[in-house]
Symmetry: C2
Subunit: 377 residues, 2 copies
């Protein structure tokens, strides 16, 4: 829920239009919780979740490393004070000239999931370390995980062998269990696959060193989620189970788990109406929607907690929609959202848990609406 610092900031500042406020104290607390829960793992913050310079600087000062999706994100991390040994180029889809650019900036750790990408890296970043991403089933994750990234474990063996042959350092295996993952056993299945790849290559004399356990650590929306500590314990148990006394280096890449609960969007009710006299749900239109911050309501995947000025007495189901002239700009319709009967046009609402994957998803100017303004305090 919104911290007192966020409430004070909103109470003392005046804005026309929706805005996101992120509390750095919460980010710091999340970082320290991850560090405590997984003391043997290095933390690579997934910059894409929220690349605000203040967040990157704070995390850099706390000792965090960074998972970058593009050259621009690498440059943001460097600017925030991270050294290049603390940055990975974690996107498996890279132009060869972008790899060369990253290599020139000193980046030496790269994600791959196919032989074609290994060949690019061998040409553009000779001698670099690569880790190969393996597919997981994404079971238990709330944000859909497609087969877009990763390959089957058997192919990962081929990919890393090829890297070794081309003079790269076949460094490890990565996986991602799916964003907002609340099923602890998802990490267990993925670690079992990772260990299989380690064993196969060991037999060929190639010693992998790293397991990148990705992100997926959830933030609390409407339902409770396991604590960082519970994740840490589950992951460490699986590591012992599959790697015995030879536990490899591990890294984690929290994004949502690092900043999701640190942010709150303030929005205004623009209109409340019905489509026919006998409708039993009201439509509630906000000044924030799918195209200026709430893209993750796509398919109603992420359900944010919403705070109104009316408390929680006398609720009724509402369809929530954004402000644009686009039919697709509807947030919750299949499963209507319970909101107070006394909700009124002009009311200000707080949408909690919106620190991750909001501001940067906003469109440049769809319908003439400006992108979501963001304040980091």
């Amino acid at each position: 829920m919104a911290t007192q610092r966020i409430r004070d900031f909103l109470a003392t500042h005046c804005f026309d239009g929706p805005c996101l406020v992120v509390d750095l104290d919460v980010v710091r607390e999340n970082y320290l919780n991850f560090e405590k829960a997984l003391p043997q793992s290095r933390i690579f913050y997934a910059i894409k979740a929220n690349p605000a310079p203040e967040i990157l600087s704070l995390l850099a000062s706390l000792g965090s490393s960074f998972d970058a999706a593009s050259v621009a994100e690498i440059e943001m991390a460097l600017k925030a004070g991270a050294t290049c040994d603390r940055i990975s180029f974690g996107n498996t889809i890279k132009k060869e000239r972008d790899i060369a650019h990253a290599y020139a900036l000193g980046i030496s750790l790269y994600a791959v999931d196919c032989v074609e990408e290994v060949e690019k890296i061998a040409r553009a970043a000779p001698g670099a370390r690569v880790f190969c991403r393996v597919l997981t089933d994404g079971k238990g994750a709330e944000w859909p995980l497609s087969r877009k990234f990763g390959c089957v474990p058997a192919m990962a063996v081929d990919v890393l062998r090829r890297a070794h042959q081309l003079g790269l350092q076949a460094y490890g295996v990565s996986f991602h269990v799916g964003s907002q993952q609340t099923d602890l056993s998802a990490w267990d299945r993925a670690l079992s696959d990772a260990a299989t790849v380690f064993r196969h290559l060991e037999q060929e004399g190639i010693s992998l060193k790293l397991v990148n356990m990705g992100g997926g650590f959830p933030t609390r929306y409407l339902k409770d989620v396991p604590t960082e500590q519970a994740y840490g314990t589950a992951v460490f148990d699986s590591l012992k189970k599959y790697f015995g006394n030879r536990i490899p280096e591990t890294i984690i890449e929290p994004g949502r788990g690092m900043v999701g609960n640190a942010g709150v969007i303030r929005t205004e009710v623009v209109l409340i109406s019905k489509k026919a006299d006998n409708d039993n749900v009201r439509w509630v239109y906000l000044d924030v929607g799918k195209f200026n911050g709430l893209a993750e309501t796509m398919d109603e995947a992420i359900r944010y907690p919403i705070e109104t000025p009316h408390g929680d007495k006398a609720m009724e189901p509402c369809i929530l929609a954004g402000p644009t002239c686009d039919s697709a700009d509807v947030l919750y319709e299949k499963t209507p959202y319970m909101l107070p009967l006394s909700l009124t046009i002009g009311d200000e609402l707080l949408i909690h848990g919106t620190g991750a994957y909001t501001a940067t998803y906003a469109s440049v100017a769809f319908n003439g609406f400006e992108p979501l303004r963001s304040y980091v305090i």
Copy 2:
């Protein structure tokens, strides 16, 4: 398909990264075709489809009117040379202070779909003209049409009566048959509803004057679509059928139909790979995706024609995806896209029919990738 002017422009300019090129000659031709097909209708270009200043200026000079979704779009149209009598505030969801702002700029034509919005307009824009949007079923449209906008015809009567009581000019009825609508009978059903609202209010002494027939006019993607002329004939036949000798003023709001086929996106193949040795589809990753221009591939709704340097011999099914580290950034997967076997990393592709709903949907900086660059020639 790409015009020679666009091909020449791309051949003589060098870009790093994807870009959209829009040919104003095509926009002009589309405008003149609409004018010819529907000589009795005024054309209100839906600015949201593509608000590039060059497009707005051209259309303003040709005599077009403009459908604006926000105060910012009203200001763009004014800046392009449109007078305020040629601009409607067509969004049914407006803040009262934005209505006041528009009214101060001279805007006198407003969309509504409920009594609550009428009351705002009566306070903030006294005496203005309002038209009420009625729901349609969206049958036959390729881009999903929700119930977000409009009310049932019976309620539209109440809404317009209320406008009249509050001193506004109850001016007419609007509808939208759904974007990329290829079923000509959709307009017939909606016009029948509009005529019902006219008749009811006529009996109460309130004479409506306008039918706003909205947009929905399709652009040619992979399949052929009816010509503007075919639409014009069908619409005029329905108008005669339902309004007899008292055909009202009509306006149309083409957006996609005005600029869709005028634009081409140039993109680069970043990676081609498989997930397992025995996979029978390849994954093709482009440097443009859902978050930097191709948002309308959501649920694979819009299927763009794609031109490769290899012609159309020896094709195979591919899954197409964008460049970001987001699992949801997949363009066509449920129905794979046929692409040449000889397609290679680094190939440049042209994505046709991308003049509408691309550049402005692009996110500000997701994954550090810049928004889609746009050139209007």
